[in-house]
């Protein structure tokens, strides 16, 4: 109720400032209608998915409240978001193949296309002009203009595609779940060029790219280890990282695939969720050798570093998805064990890391925690929340 009131008064203010732009008004009115609310940046805004309702919420992280909801986005049971380079538009990738462009300031949909039967995620190009979507059905990748979602390219590949990222040089990189390949689509060329890497390992399920955009690494479900591509040296081909990890050990059931996007790099070490083992793997980012493991309480899904790299936050697959464990990235000691409720699906840090926003699906809440004291700072109501996306993502390589 409270939110609606705020919204409608916002609507009045926006309306008034629009009026003032069209018609001469008295000085007093112009002064009063100074668009303090209508003129604002988006840098402290986040967009959160309400997965069961096909809508997103726009969160003002400074005021710590939901300032708008945008419905009509279809099936968001697995959804993700990237942002335009001006951080004004959010591109929402939905499970039903829907790609929707939302104006965060006007709080409405500007464009929407059903581009496939079943999609999984996407990325925006280095220059911000292209949005790529990876598809399960019919497979492949489609590329759209970020200005109006007109289709620019169709890249069929006969496989479900996963781990789609943007890479420097106006490239998109993705992996083929069914065909065990990594493809690079280079849009600096016209027409675009595809480079294929075959036999990279069985069933790549997701991938990550290092924050500098140099290494693309696909996690493998069908075998141990990860496939790594050095984007500075494509001639060297795909290299296997962690080839002996877990050899001879029986795998535990995986009730939800780990996510590699948002992986953690801290002090020269990368922290990665193990697959089928209740461990976080630690790699040295110079040698890419395993240098340690952290035992955790379940199958990790997200392993994320606080932006300063000092802490590692981990959430878990069913049946342990009510837990969050936090570790010191130097000592690897546990720092905190939070239990916000069933269905902890995602964690998103504020860009400088003073707080983290956590979606708790079955409690229909988004919790904000102070990352130093671990105290709960804010609770927002949103039905079945999943991904939370800060607009700061607009300026990160890979997303």
């Amino acid at each position: 109720m409270k939110r609606r009131t705020v919204l409608s008064s916002l609507g009045v203010l926006v309306g008034a400032s629009t009026l003032s732009a069209c018609a001469p008004l008295s000085n007093e009115l112009q002064f009063n209608a100074a668009p303090a609310l209508s003129l604002r940046g988006t840098g402290d805004l986040a967009v959160a998915i309400a997965r069961a309702d096909g809508k997103v919420a726009i969160i003002d992280t400074s005021q710590e409240k939901i300032i708008a909801e945008v419905p009509g986005l279809g099936d968001l049971s697995h959804a993700s978001i990237v942002f335009s380079r001006d951080a004004r538009f959010a591109f929402v990738f939905g499970r039903d193949g829907g790609l929707t462009r939302i104006d965060i300031l006007e709080q409405k949909i500007t464009h929407r296309v059903i581009q496939g039967g079943n999609s999984i995620g996407g990325a925006i190009s280095q220059d911000g002009s292209l949005v790529a979507v990876s598809n399960y059905k019919p497979g492949g990748v489609k590329v759209f203009s970020s200005a109006d979602l007109t289709q620019v390219a169709d890249i069929p590949c006969g496989s479900k595609t996963v781990g789609l990222v943007d890479a420097p040089g106006q490239r998109f990189v993705f992996s083929l779940w069914d065909k065990n390949e990594i493809w690079i689509a280079d849009f600096s060329k016209s027409p675009f060029e595809i480079t294929r890497f075959e036999d990279i390992g069985r069933n790549p399920y997701d991938a990550l790219i290092t924050p500098n955009g140099r290494y693309y690494m696909a996690g493998l479900f069908g075998e141990d280890g990860m496939a790594q591509l050095d984007l500075w040296h494509l001639e060297k081909g795909v290299k296997r990282v962690l080839p002996n990890y877990g050899r001879g050990e029986e795998k535990l059931p995986v009730y939800k695939m780990p996510h590699l996007e948002g992986w953690a790099i801290a002090s020269g070490r990368a922290f990665i969720p193990a697959v089928g083992r209740h461990e976080v793997l630690i790699l040295d980012t110079r040698t890419w050798q395993e240098v340690g493991r952290i035992p955790v309480l379940g199958q990790p899904v997200f392993v994320m570093a606080r932006p300063d790299g000092r802490q590692i936050w981990v959430n878990f697959a069913h049946p342990d998805n009510s837990h969050i464990q936090v570790f010191d990235s130097e000592t690897l000691e546990p720092l905190e064990h939070l239990q916000p409720g069933l269905g902890v699906l995602h964690m998103e840090f504020s860009p400088r890391g003073e707080s983290v926003w956590v979606s708790v699906r079955d409690k229909h809440q988004i919790n904000q925690y102070d990352t130093e004291s671990f105290q709960l700072k804010t609770q927002l109501s949103l039905p079945s929340p999943s991904g939370i996306f800060m607009t700061a993502r607009a300026h990160m390589i890979g997303l």
């Binding site: 099936d75 049971s77 697995h78 069908g222 079945s384």
Partner: protein, 106 residues
């Protein structure tokens, strides 16, 4: 005396347990419905139309027998990403899920 005491306990537990178990059965079904939507849904899609995992809509499961579905849920599908749910679900849970899948429309 001893026997009488046991009977008393048994009688008491019947009174206590029966109504509770009837309630918890439907509560369990709600949990299973929730599990199907959100946890099976994390691979098969929340509307079960498929994702990384295949579609579980009734039309797409026509070729599979109840027993095949039961075994796939209980044991998982070796070589594929489908995990065994046997460690988390009882046989009656799984039978209920198979029946539920036949009905479709989440």
């Amino acid at each position: 005396m001893k026997v009488g005491f046991s009977w008393l306990i048994l009688a008491a537990s019947i009174f206590l347990v029966l109504p509770v178990s009837a309630d918890s059965l439907s509560a369990r079904q709600q949990e299973l419905e929730h599990l199907l939507k959100h946890d099976c849904g994390s691979c098969h899609g929340m509307t079960l139309q498929g994702g990384l995992g295949s579609s579980l809509l009734p039309g797409d499961l026509k070729e599979r027998s109840d027993d095949a579905l039961f075994q796939a849920i209980k044991q998982g599908l070796p070589g594929l990403a489908m995990p065994p749910w046997g460690p988390l679900l009882s046989d009656s849970d799984i039978h209920w899920l198979v029946e539920r899948l036949r009905k479709g429309s989440m």
